[in-house]
Symmetry: C2
Amino acid sequence: MARIVMKFGGTSVADLDRIRNVARRVKREVDNGNQVAVVVSAMSGVTNQLVKYCSDLSPLHDAREYDAVVATGEQVTSGLLAIALQDIGVDARSWQGWQIAIGTDTAHGKARIQSIDGSELIKQMDSGQVAVVAGFQGIAPDNRITTLGRGGSDTSAVALAAGLKAERCDIYTDVDGVYTTDPRIVPKARKLSKISYEEMLELASVGAKVLQTRSVELAMNERVRVQVLSSFSDLPGTMVVDEDEIVEKENVSGIAYSRDEAKITVRRVPDRPGIAATIFGALAEQNVNVDMIVQNVSADGTTDMTFTVGKADLARAHAALGGIKSQIEYGELLEDPNVAKISVVGVGMRSHAGIANTMFRALADKAINIQVISTSEIKVSVLIAAEYTELAVRALHTAYGLDAT
Amino acid sequence: MARIVMKFGGTSVADLDRIRNVARRVKREVDNGNQVAVVVSAMSGVTNQLVKYCSDLSPLHDAREYDAVVATGEQVTSGLLAIALQDIGVDARSWQGWQIAIGTDTAHGKARIQSIDGSELIKQMDSGQVAVVAGFQGIAPDNRITTLGRGGSDTSAVALAAGLKAERCDIYTDVDGVYTTDPRIVPKARKLSKISYEEMLELASVGAKVLQTRSVELAMNERVRVQVLSSFSDLPGTMVVDEDEIVEKENVSGIAYSRDEAKITVRRVPDRPGIAATIFGALAEQNVNVDMIVQNVSADGTTDMTFTVGKADLARAHAALGGIKSQIEYGELLEDPNVAKISVVGVGMRSHAGIANTMFRALADKAINIQVISTSEIKVSVLIAAEYTELAVRALHTAYGLDAT
């Protein structure tokens, strides 16, 4: 007998038939002798409607009221799933964030979980009752409802699994696991049976949006074993686990891409100390996140500074840099939104040389020019022209031997 | 400066424009120097949708889960109205039943309010903040959400007004007050400026569904002055107050009618002790409410027993009476769903003779046959064939001098 947490996202509970389907899946785990807590999202579309109500009434609405409004989406699903479970003979009850309680800070709209009191839940689960928990929500110290921000139900599930000391946390979604790359681009992409937290984090941060980044960080910190699997099939999913649990480590686990960034080059920057601090300080002040950065070797007393920012931040970045032109007297500002970041990720990189070189050669073979390079311990990323995205992903997938046979 | 409670029903908050309209009405009271608590219903249609979800999943669903689901309707409105108020410069916040707390018993789906802790609300209202309270809901001793049953937001508002010791409770609805009778039948019906609790109760119980009966009982017990008025006009409404506040008492305040009842006659019942107990005991066991009862004078050792039940209960009543046929050996069972109950109501009856006689004469003048008569201290009701309903109401409205001049 194991204690497990199952989490179902919005498309998995989109209508009453799908809620009944979820109930049957939960019953199967109960019939297998497991103690089960289920975390549910709002029925798909509901949260968007509620957010729109708030925004239409007032663009700058009170985040505390926003939270009271949007948290109802998960409340409805939790009650309905409890009814569906009871209807097929499974003892169940719904739990709202404030009833458990899931304590958070007061950062309404994007609160962070501070504590979970699992004692009452564990007592009820010990007596055989399934706990159906409204995801995405908690309660602040002042007794007001909070929400965790978009995708927060993943975080609810992982935090609950930690609080309940669950054996694993199954995240049911509309894909059946984590793949070596996007199967829409590479039909030969393979589903991974296991992936490490660190790899999952790197993949999530470069656009493979299977799990919310924060939930993976939490799982890593709390050592919660997470499984990503489909609520519409019976196939096993992908286990996200500690690196030590993965016996045969691949050099490269996956290829990810992101077209959400834009490239900015500041030409002919005077090459003296403090210039980088001025540029990136101005961007930080405008809340612009900078990702890849490269600075050319200086010639004739000036240098070129190239970096990437989120596409949505491009206008703000432009304004910020315009504001310091008189201060640092750079030459011109070049902006290119038509770029893509391609990343190869794998914990095996730590012990294997030549991973980056394989990447550069594979791209050169396809005549793809590399604009910027950045690396981390388990990731190599390159910036290329966006039109080469699919070609690059396919070439790298083959080059690292990831194609299914 | 007064402390008032304002309550807005589902049609008054049906969409964002109407919520903005409500916000402006609340602002007007605030600008007049009043401390305001607002009680809101769900946006119209929302509760029906949520109820349907529960029923579709399981006809016999857990009332505790039903409550968790349907209470979200009022939660959404409370948050949205708080946002709309803030948007026009009024300090406001939403309050859920469990936050106040509005304590109820554990009769989920039709809970009764046991206690309201108004201290926190009063503190916030003293500081100038409008309290936007989700109606229809409370919290049971076991920390689970309860709802008060259909129309329960009226009861929430009156209970809150009592708990806050408010000067009055304004119930905004889609009619602009209580009329001497249904204006759709009698165009000359007059709006009453004042009506006593007792009269309002009698009118509500015979089909004038302006206020939920329980909310009027509560207002009477707690001496809460209630005003019924329209959220779509600026006309003064009808005050529902203690009889002592009404200086000029009319003999008859209003004429009400109900077509929701059916007549049952049990023919040739043996005239011996215990028979009535057997008949009405069998009906009570099936949860059939009996209203008017008349028993003819006995002849030849048998008697006829006539009474009315709700039309919706007719099939259950038929079955219950069939089950005791062998026991009391009555003759035949006659059922007639085509009846209407016409009532004249007025506290002036207490001190004036001849009220009933005026009724009987007016109906006789129109050749309307009276089937059953019942009376209370401030009401005379008769059962007639349903096809005479409008004719009878108009004749009585004129006979008692209620027509507008």
